[in-house]
Amino acid sequence: MTCADALDAIEAIAAGDLALDGEIAAHVAGCRSCAAALDTATRIERALVALPAASAPPRFTQEVAAAVRRERWRSEERVDRAFNVTIAAGLGLVGAALVSLFYVGSLAQMVLAVADTLAKAAQGPPAWQPSGSLPILWMMAAAATMAVGVWWWLERSPRFDDESA
C-alpha cells in the first residue's frame, strides 16, 4: 500500500462508503501525512453535512405564480401581434391583387409605350414619332403639371399644424 493508493481512498473512507481496515488502516496508522489527510477529509465531510440549507423567501410561490401569469400574458400578446400582422398582410395582399386586376392592363401598356419611345429615341433622329406615343406623353405631362400644382398649392396654403397661422 502506497500513499497514492491510500489517498485515493481517503474521501470514500471519510464518507463512510469504505471501511478503514486492512492494509489501508495499517498504512494510515503509520503514515503521518495520510493520517492528516484523512483527518481533514473527515472534517470536510462533517462541514458539508452541517452546511445550512436556505429556505425559500416568503411569498415565493405567489411571485412565481405572478411571473407565470406575466409569461403567459406575453406569450398571448405575441400570438395576438403575429395574428394581427398576418391579417394586415393578408388584407394588403388582397387589396394589391384587386388593384392589379383593374390596372395591370393599362400599366403594362404605359410601360411598354415608354420603353418603345426610349428605344426609338436611342436609334437616333427622328427621335420619336408623335403618332404612337403622344397620348402617353400627354398623360405624363398632365401628371407632372398636376404634381407641380399640388406642390405649389401646399406650399402656399397655411399648414394645419402651423402655430403661427
Binding site: I10, I44, A54
Partner: protein
C-alpha cells in the same frame, strides 16, 4: 403529498392552465430548489431570481414532461442547467484560493476544533465555488437533505459509480485547495 397526488397535479398542469396545481408543485419543491440554487450561486438575490427561473422553465417544459423520470430528478436537471448557464453567462466570481486572501491555510495537524465556524464555512464555500460545474452541483445536491446517488445519476445522466467517483474527486479537490 404522495406520488399519486403529484401525478394528478402534473396531469392538471399538462392538460390545462391550472394555476392552483402548478402553485401546489411550486410549494412542494420551492425549499429544495432555493436551497440548491443558493448553494450553487452563493448570492441570495441572484439565487431567488434563478430559483424563479427554474420554476418558469419547469412551467414551460411541463407539457413535454413525459414522466419517465421522477419530477424531482427533472427539477435537479433544470437547476443544474440554469445555474451552469448563468455561471457561463456572468462568468461568476471564481475566487482564487491562494494564500493571498490573507487567511492561513488549514493545518491538518493542528487542533482545529472550530472547522464548522463561519470563517471556515466561508472558505469551504469559496473552495466549492472554484470547482467545475458538475462537481459543485454534485456536492451541493448530495449534502442537501441526502439526495441519493441514484437521483443524482439520473439527473446528470451518468452511472451511479461515476457519480460516486466524481463526488470523491470533488471532495479531494476541496481538501487539496483548503490545505494548499
Amino acid at each position: 403529498m404522495d406520488q399519486s397526488d403529484e401525478q394528478s397535479l402534473l396531469e392538471r398542469c399538462r392538460t390545462g392552465q391550472d394555476d392552483d396545481a402548478f402553485a401546489a408543485l411550486v410549494e412542494r419543491y420551492k425549499d429544495l430548489v432555493c436551497a440548491l440554487v443558493y448553494r450553487l450561486s452563493r448570492d441570495r438575490n441572484q439565487a431567488d431570481d434563478l430559483a424563479q427561473e427554474v420554476f418558469l422553465k419547469m412551467y414551460r417544459g411541463l407539457p413535454y414532461f413525459r414522466g419517465d423520470a421522477k419530477l424531482s430528478t427533472w427539477i435537479y436537471r433544470i437547476v443544474f442547467n440554469v445555474c451552469s448557464q448563468e455561471r457561463a453567462r456572468r462568468r461568476m466570481v471564481e475566487v482564487p484560493l491562494d494564500p493571498g486572501d490573507g487567511r492561513p491555510p488549514i493545518d491538518p495537524g493542528a487542533a482545529d476544533a472550530s472547522f464548522g465556524d463561519l470563517e471556515l464555512r466561508d472558505r469551504l464555500d469559496r473552495a466549492m465555488a472554484s470547482l467545475p460545474d458538475n462537481y459543485r452541483f454534485l456536492i451541493a445536491a448530495h449534502y442537501l437533505r441526502g439526495i441519493q446517488y441514484d437521483a443524482l445519476a439520473e439527473a446528470l445522466d451518468m452511472p451511479i459509480g461515476t457519480v460516486k467517483t466524481h463526488l470523491y474527486r470533488a471532495k479531494r479537490l476541496l481538501r487539496e485547495r483548503l490545505t494548499r
